[in-house]
């Protein structure tokens, strides 16, 4: 919205500050001036304003002038536009308000023998000067007059060609099947809920939104009817929305117009039109609906007390603080009327308690708190002190906050960058990755088809981001996301915390002196093992289901993926991306990814570190070179050794796995075993016995010692 300081100064000739200071003072009081443009000597400045939607009353020159008057303690003269005496009418012009719920006031003034011509500057309205400064298009004196009234005081008005009106005005709901060609030239099929201004035969305009084509002012127009009215916000909003229209008029009515402004604006428009001759016929026809008048112009007064003002606003920089005089000065300047009152049972003197009558143009003011805000606003927010409240409560941590932080730190330490992905995915990706297919929640107004549903898994986003990196020739990828996944139905949506990670490219710890190694399944498994080990649990295991069991998620390579279970419950899946899935995403590299149902891990306590005494006695390492059938997994060997329950057998691991054509279907495994006692050096006989038992156990598991 544009405001001329020249126009403001016409309302308030005594403004004591320059345009820059005025802009600053207005802005600090919530009437924000976003830009100031100098219009040259004698023309003042043009303000580009940004006014919040609740302050529709200040979106015009008189409204801004009222704010300025309040800031500087000036008196703003009331608007008054004197009109020549009217000639008596044979019969008063007929106006009926049928839609009493939606039209609170309708004023009509008949002007005869009007000349439609170009506008010129008038003492009451410098139309041409102001419009030029505002770069407002001039059309004719009739249209310019209504625009001038709009810019001056924010009251929409309308001028009809009186001779095209049949009978009189009826404000009513449209009839089914009625058509109306509006001023924009579009013929509109009216809805029975549309509020229209009609004559006795046909609709003339969409009330509070846009006038009609057939009754518009033309150069031939001789007689004019000036409409200034008050329409209900909701009725106007619905009509405007239904027809996809947003006009100055609808903007104002939707947010609440001033019930008392209609006759004033009517006088302003009429006085501009009468400047080129013509006369008024009859008195102003002014129809009002008392119920709506009571809701707007005559609202109940609001009780306000100084103690409540101080309780909410607190301490000011000025030691005097907010006084009764401050409250009275501010609110009076804004158009309120204050009467002292004594509250029953209150110790507060009548001088610090009021009944406040609210101005008709401030429909946003309804309650005591609204008045307190006005006091703070005009007094100046930055004149309040910076204080800190006292508080004695302890800070409570979220149950899983530390767990989440541990998970994040573990992934960061493993060299994964944290990422944040889209909350949405395509229906196809959802059915591919949802842990519970069929429980996918669609959006009603998705951003795009690719974002049609709430993500049931973090995997789609992870794959998109990995592919994005590969497409940009970033081939080494390590990413993880901690986020929310969604399941359920459109009736009820469940949210759970999840973790996804993905990797591609080479293992990063290779330097220039070593050959690079591609990242592999075991790199991810190591991360999962370390992650799960951060939580206290009795058992962790990894397994894989037969490819035809339908249990492995379809996005995973059926033979290079694993489920991880903690205490018997699935906590996640990971492995190589299914090569066919990779192909469909145009990914050529081997991509590894996984998803952990992290909420299940959060149920477990975090592992509490406990120091064990480190044995002072020498450990003894023995290696066994084993030959195994390809169907015998490490797990079998692992369990066989674990089953020995030898306390001195402190560590065993697969040191090297070796496959060779010469071995056929077999493979060789170098098993490293460490023995150590906490309290003594192991004797040779003991070691011999342990070794024998290890060989026996792995033998039962299907391994034989290499020749």
């Amino acid at each position: 919205m544009k405001i001329l300081t020249k126009w403001l100064r016409a309302f308030l000739p005594a403004l004591p500050v320059d345009d820059t200071q005025l802009a600053e003072d207005l802005t600090l009081r919530g009437i924000a001036v976003e830009g100031i443009y100098d219009l040259g000597k004698g023309n003042g400045s043009l303000y580009e304003m940004d006014i919040t939607t609740n302050r529709v009353d200040a979106m015009n020159h008189y409204g801004v002038a009222r704010e300025a008057a309040a800031i500087y303690g000036l008196t703003l003269p009331e608007l008054h536009f004197p009109l020549p005496e009217a000639k008596a009418a044979a019969t008063p012009f007929s106006v009926q308000i049928e839609a009493e719920d939606a039209c609170g006031r309708f004023t009509a003034r008949v002007l005869r023998n009007i000349t439609i011509c170009e506008s010129r500057d008038l003492p009451v309205a410098p139309v041409v000067s102001y419009f030029n400064l505002l770069e407002q298009k001039k059309i004719s004196n009739a249209v310019d007059a209504t625009n001038f009234a709009w810019l001056a005081m924010g009251q929409p008005t309308h001028a009809f060609d009186l001779d095209k009106i049949e009978g009189g005005i009826i404000v009513r709901r449209a009839h089914k099947g009625e058509l109306l060609k509006t001023l924009d030239g579009i013929v509109r099929n009216l809805d029975p809920e549309d509020l229209v201004v009609a004559d006795h035969v046909k609709p003339l305009g969409l009330a509070g939104v846009m006038g009609g084509w057939d009754t518009m002012i033309t150069p031939e127009t001789k007689n004019v009817l000036v409409e200034a009215a008050w329409f209900d916000p909701i009725a106007v909003r619905r009509t405007a929305r239904r027809h996809g229209l947003h006009t100055d008029a609808s903007h104002r009515f939707e947010r609440g117009a001033d019930f008392n402004a209609a006759p004033v604006a009517s006088a302003l428009v009429s006085s501009i039109l009468l400047a080129n001759g013509g006369s008024i016929e009859g008195d102003l026809v002014d129809m009002r609906v008392p119920a709506l008048e009571a809701r707007t112009a005559h609202r109940q007064a609001v009780a306000l007390s100084l103690s409540e003002v101080q309780r909410i606003l607190g301490t000011t920089v000025d030691p005097e603080g907010i006084t009764a005089a401050t409250v009275e000065t501010v609110l009076t300047a804004l158009g309120c009327e204050l009467a002292h009152r004594r509250e029953a049972g209150s110790a507060e003197p009548a001088s610090a308690a009021w009944l406040v009558t609210l101005p008709g143009w401030r429909l946003d003011l309804e309650r005591e708190i609204d008045l307190i805000e006005e006091v703070a606003r005009v007094y100046g927010y930055n004149r309040f002190a910076n204080t800190l409240p006292s508080f004695g409560e302890g800070v409570r941590a979220l149950a899983w906050a530390e767990s989440e932080s541990v998970v994040r730190r573990t992934l960061l330490a493993a060299g994964f960058h944290e990422t944040i992905g889209s909350t949405f995915c395509s229906a196809a990706d959802a059915s591919l990755t949802a842990p519970q297919p069929g429980l996918v929640v669609p959006l009603g107004n998705p951003l795009s088809e690719e974002a049609g549903v709430m993500r049931p898994s973090l995997v789609p986003g992870m794959l998109t981001m990995i592919a994005g990196n590969l497409n940009r020739d970033v081939s080494d990828v390590r990413l993880f996301e901690l986020g929310t996944v969604f399941s359920g139905s459109t009736e009820k949506v469940e949210e759970r915390a999840a973790l996804a990670f993905g990797a591609a490219g080479i293992a990063p710890e290779q330097g220039a002196m070593h050959s690079a190694r591609p990242i592999e399944f075991y790199d991810l498994k190591g991360v999962v093992e370390q992650l799960v080990a951060r939580f206290e649990s009795r058992s962790v295991y990894f397994d894989r289901f037969p490819a035809d069991a339908g249990l492995t998620p379809a996005w995973l390579h059926p033979y290079r993926s694993a489920r991880v279970a903690v205490e018997g419950e699935t906590v996640g899946w990971f492995g190589q991306l299914h090569p066919r899935e990779a192909a469909s995403r145009k990914i050529k590299d081997a991509v590894f990814a996984g998803e952990i149902y992290i909420d299940r891990l959060y149920q477990l306590p975090l592992r509490k570190p406990a120091a064990k005494e480190i044995s002072r006695f020498q450990p003894v390492r023995r290696d066994f070179s084993l030959i195994l059938d390809e169907n015998i997994s490490w797990e079998r060997i692992d369990q066989a050794i674990g089953g020995l329950n030898i306390p001195e057998l402190v560590e065993w691991r697969a040191r090297e796995v070796f496959r060779d054509k010469k071995l056929g279907r077999d493979y060789s495994l170098l098993l490293g075993v460490t023995f150590q006692a906490p309290d003594r050096t192991l004797r040779e006989e003991e070691l011999q016995d342990f070794q024998t038992r290890v060989v026996e156990a792995v033998g039962k598991a299907g391994a034989r010692l290499r020749g």
Binding site: E373, N386, L388, L412, H417, E418, T419, P442, M465, V493
Partner: protein, 368 residues
């Protein structure tokens, strides 16, 4: 190393013994002086102390055994002294490590790049959010969280948005499908702010409340350089008896100084939010130019950073439906909210909001 045989012993008198042992010690010292590397040390050890062929073994078997009884004590003492000397020499030789020449042969090119383990980088949004949260944690605020899919009641109605408010339109808010049949307040949507957690918290506990609410929110916005349909907010809520507008000012002034440096100034402007009254926008003095005016602050010297206000009594009325202690005549409170992306973009010089959600390794790696 010496190849000389063990010298012949002239006799078992003191003078002969002295001479013979002096010669042996000289040999041992001479040999030890030229030792280079572990292998040489080991050879020296074998030559002198070896159980079978060692020179001392030789001395022992040839001289000691042949010695007459009266000379045995004197010879034994000299033998032990020599053995101690050899052991000491050996220890010195072993401890001194390889020679300079051996070290030179081990030279490497130290200008080759180091082998780096990839350090994972915390996401700048997480990082910024944690910074903000910890500032308020130090002021006694607990963390509150809530669902991302909310009901109209928590997101709008209880936050005092009137029924026809534009934010409730599907043009502005993303909604779950098939909600039309439900009563308005039960309809599911993606929360447009983290404010619903204010209501959820108040409904679940009586005052006092001090919570800070970080979280992901969504709006039906077109993506551009500074707007994203997905973004994050941190909100705060403080409710107690005697919480005032000046407390709100002091709290946020302190928080902005903690986040952006103690020289940062704040100023408050009237604004409008349905759930607070009085409402304010807060600007901080430009962190790039210190308030002198630059491109980043559009030459105003100020940067708009957050919205806040005193909790609207209508919001307390909704809370009081479950917790009657939220009587707006007895308690008061303030709430504030800030966009995490905007702060992160400012702090780290990020120009495109979309880069925060693209998962580009090169972008994310900068925050390690």
């Amino acid at each position: 190393m010496t190849n000389e045989p063990i010298p012949e012993l002239g006799g078992f008198d003191e003078a002969s013994l002295d001479k013979a042992f002096a010669a042996l010690e000289q040999q041992a010292r001479a040999d030890a002086a030229s030792l280079d590397g572990e292998e040489a040390v080991e050879a020296y050890r074998l030559q002198w102390l070896g159980r079978k062929q060692g020179r001392l073994n030789d001395v022992s078997s040839r001289w000691l055994k042949a010695a007459p009884a009266e000379a045995k004590k004197s010879l034994g003492q000299r033998f032990n002294a020599l053995k101690a000397t050899v052991e000491q020499l050996l220890e010195q030789a072993a401890g001194s490590g390889p020679s300079d020449a051996a070290l030179a042969a081990e030279a490497i090119d130290i200008t080759l790049p180091g082998t780096r383990r990839l350090l994972g980088a915390e996401h700048p949004i997480t990082r910024t959010m944690n910074e903000i949260v910890s500032v308020f944690a130090a002021l006694g605020y607990s963390v509150g969280v809530g669902p991302e899919v909310e009901t109209d009641f928590y997101n709008f109605e209880s936050m005092n948005f009137p029924p026809g408010h534009p934010a409730r339109d599907t043009q502005d808010t993303l909604v779950i499908a098939n909600q039309e049949r439900k009563p308005l307040r039960d309809r599911l949507l993606l929360r447009t702010h983290t404010s619903p957690v204010q209501m959820r918290t108040m409904q679940s506990q009586p005052p006092p409340v001090r919570i800070v609410i970080p979280g992901k929110v969504h709006r039906n916005d077109a993506q551009d350089a500074t707007h994203s349909p997905i973004f994050h907010q941190v909100e705060g809520l403080c409710v107690d008896t005697n919480i005032t507008f000046s407390d709100l000012k002091g709290t946020l002034d302190h928080a902005m100084k903690a986040l952006f440096g103690s020289s940062v100034k704040t100023r408050f402007f009237p604004s409008f939010f349905p759930f607070t009254e009085p409402s304010a926008d807060v600007q901080i003095s430009c962190i790039f130019c210190g308030g002198k005016g630059c491109r980043k602050c559009k030459h105003s010297g100020w940067i708009e950073l957050l919205g806040c206000g005193m909790v609207d009594p209508a919001v307390f009325a909704f809370a009081a439906e479950k917790q009657p202690a939220y009587d707006p005549k007895k308690i008061s409170g303030f709430a504030f909210g800030m966009g995490v992306e905007r702060i992160a973009m400012m702090k780290y010089g990020i120009s495109e909001i979309g880069s925060l959600f693209a998962g580009d390794m090169r972008f994310l790696g900068q925050f390690a």
